[in-house]
Symmetry: C2
Subunit: 140 residues, 2 copies
Amino acid sequence: MSAEFWLTQLHENGYRITGARRAVVETVEKSTRALTPVEVYDMSRKRYRALGLVTVYRTLEKLEELHLIQRVHQPMGCQAFISAGQGHQHLLLCKNCGQVVFFEGDDLESLTKSIAKKTGYQIQDHWLQLFGMCANCRTN
Amino acid sequence: MSAEFWLTQLHENGYRITGARRAVVETVEKSTRALTPVEVYDMSRKRYRALGLVTVYRTLEKLEELHLIQRVHQPMGCQAFISAGQGHQHLLLCKNCGQVVFFEGDDLESLTKSIAKKTGYQIQDHWLQLFGMCANCRTN
DNA sequence: ATACTTATTGATAATGATTTTCATTACCGA
DNA sequence: TCGGTAATGAAAATCATTATCAATAAGTAT
Ligand SMILES: [Mn+2]
Ligand SMILES: [Mn+2]
Ligand SMILES: [Zn+2]
Ligand SMILES: [Zn+2]
């Protein structure tokens, strides 16, 4: 899942490849923690000086639409984005440094069945997110 | 968990009981779906005409601080609040009408242990939220 | 390569949500 | 009942996001 792939995806969906988009894509794609639009702006401007914040918003919008990135919800705010996981995956976030890891293998089958029976709801979706302290932050 | 209890909590924590707070508390406490500040404002103004939106923000802030309400995160936005569940509970939300139900009994013990070993993270917390269709919305 | 069409851009303005300021009001303990 | 002061609402300020628009440049056709 390289920056080139993201650019290809943009192109294949009728969007043009521009310097501004290249900069944003390269910044977001390689980040291992969720970034806010302003963070993306600041970091991408080192690659493409003329970049405007508005273009960051517009590019993030398109990347989300193509499922290349996803919004990350946190206690402190919900406007950060990270490279999307593939398939059915959930996030594990370091409370200290924000480092993100994806995991899979959660089995909520029996739980949802039981809750569905108890509540009368037809359960369709779930959000699961783990918070903790990464190995690095734990030692330092 | 009545409105009177909430007012008592406010009082016991050094806050005064006012008409504005009464109105907000009564509105939020009895709602079975998450409400945004403006929704709280509109609904509470029927009880207390002179209410200002700023006071709604300030009251919600205090109620959250006292753990009487909690923020609800949803795909469409994360600025809505609902009466908090007691103990370790999670939310089940109707995608159609927003009706909220709390549930407990989720067991993520083995999952978190496995993820902790795999990632090196020390896992401290989790967010779990279910989405679906309530019995009412399903029949109508 | 060159010209041309039009998507994209960044600056600017507009909007919307939340917070701050401040003079006035009213809660509540003495 | 009174007085100190927390709380209030109006207005202004701030912050995040979105809309407008003329200039630019990506990509296609020539
Ligand atoms: Mn959220
Ligand atoms: Mn749980
Ligand atoms: Zn960390
Ligand atoms: Zn419903």
